[in-house]
Amino acid sequence: MISATAVSKRYPEGLQALSDVSFEIDAGEMVFFTGHSGAGKSTLFRLLAAIERPTSGSIVVNGKNLAALSKSAIPYLRRNFGLIFQDQKLLFDRSVLDNVLLPLAIVGLPAREAARRARAALDKVGLLDREKANPIALSGGEQQRLAIARAVVNRPAILLADEPAANLDAESAGAILEIFRAFHQVGVTLLIATHNPQWMASASPRVLQLERGHLVGDAA
């Protein structure tokens, strides 16, 4: 499903964020990417979502080589992903429900069907009773769950979560992990960047370890 071959990324200012990283991820796998800050996890996720392009190497997602994609094809590729960002990127000028409706508006789902699906997604993450609230009124854990609801509302085949448990207490982080497990059980491919040892211990997934831009470990 996802194949990275000798991927390197060097920024114009000289920072070598990734060096010769290769891996393959099958459909339905739950994979944790771990490593210290600056190891290259976020860069790798940005390359996978075609937010940036690798300096060299290739990334193939669902049989499509990202390097060969035209600029106009990238939005359609991103609709295959549910993206969960470390800073969540919630919109605070609208309600919880409207945040979840945004991906559905992008694909042009009729309003009634969109509202039904958005509420279903909020229900899955336990936020249905907060649909009218402004995201700023939510706790950190709730905001992260809202970000997950927005990421999954379009029923993507792949979830990319960059440090979803960062700045969360143990209880909230546990709740988030349970949500991810539930998606994994229904066949969603999960790629999660984290250095939360509790998660890796409890979920027993495949772990890819990055260090200073190099892939130094791949263990199940």
């Binding site: 979502a49 937010i51 106009s72 939005p75 359609y76 590729l77 991103r78 609709r79 993206l83 960002f85 990127k89 919109l91 000028d93 945004l102 991906p103 508006a105 992008i106 694909v107 042009g108 789902l109 009729p110 309003a111 927005r150 990421a151 379009n154």
Partner: protein, 299 residues
């Protein structure tokens, strides 16, 4: 309804909401756009009306063909045949006795006419040409003057030429003004959209990250620009119609003083539609320029 239409409808609703959510600034923008479109529209309307005035003011668009005093019925018949063949437009024969009676009826002329030993007026033809372009009128007058027993052909060509030149300058000035104000309208919309894009930078960034196309992101701005322009065009039409109502009575009075009968014509429904369409097109253009530049900057 297809997804494509649903997206357009949502973008239109979003644009309407945006206009309604900031009533004061929307009103000020509409005022600026309305005035910018009303000025050249009023200019065009004035020029159009002036052109029509020349057609209604007596004698202006006519050619008088005066026969020689000794011209007889046969000569008059010859001219009638030639006019019928040339088909220059409407024409009528004014017999010298009829002309004298008309002169007699004029204020203060009765005594003078009575004192004349004989009728000094010639028979004449009054031609109202179909083609009232100055050059065409000149050509006709030249033709008529070459016909037999024609003593004089009267065409106030100098006046018509001057007036035509004045109208052409007026049209040019209005075109220049319209171009400048169209540029101003595009600039106003460009800047409004720029501010909206900056205010919505976070939403645009998120939308792009989760799969929004450039068309999806720019569509609401296009609708906003076009909608604001169209409403500005309708506002301009309202201003012009109001101005026309205020001027109608004094203009009517003035034309009557010159012996004409003329009703000031205002904007037709098609004109109003054209104003709204021009406003919408200029608004769309301003939005397109702004979106193209500022979305690229947002990456």
């Amino acid at each position: 309804m297809s997804r494509y239409l649903a997206q357009h409808l949502a973008a239109l609703q979003g644009a309407l909401r945006r206009i309604a959510s900031t009533p004061l600034s929307s009103l000020l923008s509409l005022l600026v756009i309305g005035v910018a479109l009303a000025l050249p529209s009023a200019g065009w309307l004035i020029i159009d009306n002036l052109g029509a005035v020349t057609g209604s003011a007596s004698g202006v668009q006519q050619i008088s063909v005066f026969m020689t005093i000794d011209a007889g019925k046969k000569d008059i018949g010859e001219i009638e045949s030639r006019l019928a063949a040339a088909k220059p437009g409407n024409w009528r024969f004014v017999a010298r006795d009829e002309a004298l009676k008309q002169l007699q009826a004029s204020e203060g002329m009765a005594e003078i006419v009575a004192s004349l030993p004989r009728n000094p007026l010639p028979d004449a033809f009054v031609v109202e040409p179909t083609d009232t372009e100055p050059q065409a009128m000149e050509r006709l007058a030249k033709t008529f003057s070459g016909w037999p027993k024609v003593a004089h052909v009267q065409l106030d060509s100098a006046w018509i030429k001057r007036f035509d030149a004045f109208l052409r300058i007026g049209k040019l000035a209005v075109t220049m003004l319209a171009s400048l104000l169209a540029g101003a309208l595009v600039t106003v919309t460009f800047n409004t959209i720029r501010l909206q894009i900056l205010a919505q930078a976070a939403e645009i960034e998120v939308a792009k990250l989760i799969g929004a196309t450039d068309a999806f992101i720019s569509r609401p701005f296009h609708y906003f620009g076009a909608l604001q322009g169209a409403l500005g065009g309708l506002f301009a039409a309202l201003l012009v119609v109001l101005g026309g109502h205020l001027l109608a009575a004094p203009v009517d009075e003035l034309i009557a003083l010159y012996g004409g009968s003329f009703a000031l014509h205002g904007l037709s429904a098609a004109n109003v539609g054209a104003l709204a369409a021009i406003g919408a097109a200029l608004g769309w253009l301003g939005a397109q320029l702004s979106v193209a530049i500022h979305l690229r900057r947002l990456g």
